[in-house]
Symmetry: C2
Subunit: 372 residues, 2 copies
Amino acid sequence: MKFSIERAVLLKAVAQAQSVVERRNTIPILANVLIEAEGNNVQFRATDLDIEVVDKADAMVERAGATTVAAVTLNEIVRKLPDGALVTLTEDGVKGRLTIEAGRSNFSLATLPKEDFPVMASSDYTTNFSAPAPVLRRLFDKSKFAISTEETRYYLNGVYMHIADGEDGRALRCVATDGHRLARIDAAMPENAGDMPGVIVPRKTVGELRKLLDDDEMQIAVSVSETKVRFATPNITLTSKVIDGTFPDYTRVIPQGNTRKLEVDASDFAKAVDRVATVSSERSRAVKLSLDEDRLVLSVNAPDSGAATEELAVAYDDERLEIGFNAKYLLEIASQVDRENAVFLFNSSGDPTLMREGNDTSAVYVVMPMRV
Amino acid sequence: MKFSIERAVLLKAVAQAQSVVERRNTIPILANVLIEAEGNNVQFRATDLDIEVVDKADAMVERAGATTVAAVTLNEIVRKLPDGALVTLTEDGVKGRLTIEAGRSNFSLATLPKEDFPVMASSDYTTNFSAPAPVLRRLFDKSKFAISTEETRYYLNGVYMHIADGEDGRALRCVATDGHRLARIDAAMPENAGDMPGVIVPRKTVGELRKLLDDDEMQIAVSVSETKVRFATPNITLTSKVIDGTFPDYTRVIPQGNTRKLEVDASDFAKAVDRVATVSSERSRAVKLSLDEDRLVLSVNAPDSGAATEELAVAYDDERLEIGFNAKYLLEIASQVDRENAVFLFNSSGDPTLMREGNDTSAVYVVMPMRV
């Protein structure tokens, strides 16, 4: 194998691939990236056995071939090479070394046989559709904060992507919850997505997927089976196993009868919550909301260290209400609001509270109260 | 006690003071900042019993007084208050609470009696002089990287500031070493500094001092005794115990007879060292320098993972030499060079090597070689 490639192109492909590689590996070859050169391009493939990413880059291939080298080391070397350098990678298949040359720099890295590299079995994708990058970005960005980190509740360790009946017809929906809060985000259902099986996309996959979604003009090809999900741009293919479990029936958690409506500037609200929470101890950062006509008082009372109150002018015309929340959950939910006022719908101080942006029902959040 | 103060002024004073407070304290009052309001200003005082910092800020004092509150919490609250806010701090001395008000925000923090706050005993400073901030900045910035972190060699856990005979007459000199490398930085001796006792300024003090030295126009008042050192600007006074030990005779470590001279672009050199070191394992990042006429080859050989070589055009006209160094030490020393080429002076592959910037002898570095 021998090919030459621009440093910037190489860096982009290797950086994307190596990020799925786990830093601590008991199986040596999982620390490696599989490099395959053929025709006019080179593929870089990395996997942790659950996720596989394949990055394709243009290159001047002099001699086709394939080998594997340590992904992190290769990435570090390429990153440190001067901008604009032309990099030549050579492997003669005999010495078990890959040579990397650029200008007066010369590296040789130990290789492992390409035959040992685990290539993810292909899947029979039953659903194939296409969605604009900004649509997928919104679905995952607004839901991922609620993913559970409890390993025992493995079926909550991801975002549940499925087709549902939304307020405006059939929707591509992402839901995440950890039992304390929940996010439900809808987008118009893409063509051909109608029979998609619901899948739980793991947290790490959501993180890797995010890197494919920065380009506003990009269309993402999505393929789904019962066991796998694939997201692809022309150059990058991300394939992931989905979580083998049943996502709980979240619809029962979303309150329907909450009528006490509070409308508040989301940014002012978040800053005020952040400030009053400062005085409380780390463990139970409970913030009390006291609602009266067009008036919200946020308060925290930590007997040992101190107390804090803050008043906000809001829109509220229901009866008096006092309700407590975990400050972190309130902050995270308020920070999802980027366009309009945050609208909270309460029932009683013991019932789950609903939050949305203005009258937009395509993004709905639920948060459980705390006793204060 | 009652006073009002601009949020930005308060934040600057509190932030500076709280940074000396240790995060884990067994003595509760050491987590607090002592606030003393009198006349037209307020003093914020914090200490870890080794270092004391006093920050003075203008304020509208309505009622003089003093109290102590948790430094970190106060800093967090003030940081989160909106920019431009006027903050009022009130303590009535009865309830054991300090009230902080700004706009519609209201905080109350638990206080501890001001009488319990440990104020550092004053010292009889035998030497008092003044030095421009940029001069002190250079002395400490260029030497601190070599401070030892070995607690058993406590006398190396700081920068040795003393008066010495430099190449251009009497000098204010800072020296730091960890036994593997050494930095010796000179500045022209300030007036009245001639009889200064040599003191070892602890690592943490060097870090805190750095925050006083950003303003190029500032004159720093320096006071030194056998046991303490004090650095002061009109608003901030930093007092520190010095390390109670004897700094070793570093002059014997600085080679005098090294004649083999290598001249190299410091930035190119540092980048090349960084690149070749990528292939070696974390533990022994040994880089070999092979010198021949006007030619330097850097190489690393890590049998398990790979090898790297890089060639640099340099100025060298002595006989062939091979010498090895710890890559991290070479990088740190090369990154001290900011104006000119790095000049290395070698003796043999087993002897300490000297490095300086061009022909400037006011900053000299020594690094021990490694067997490669």
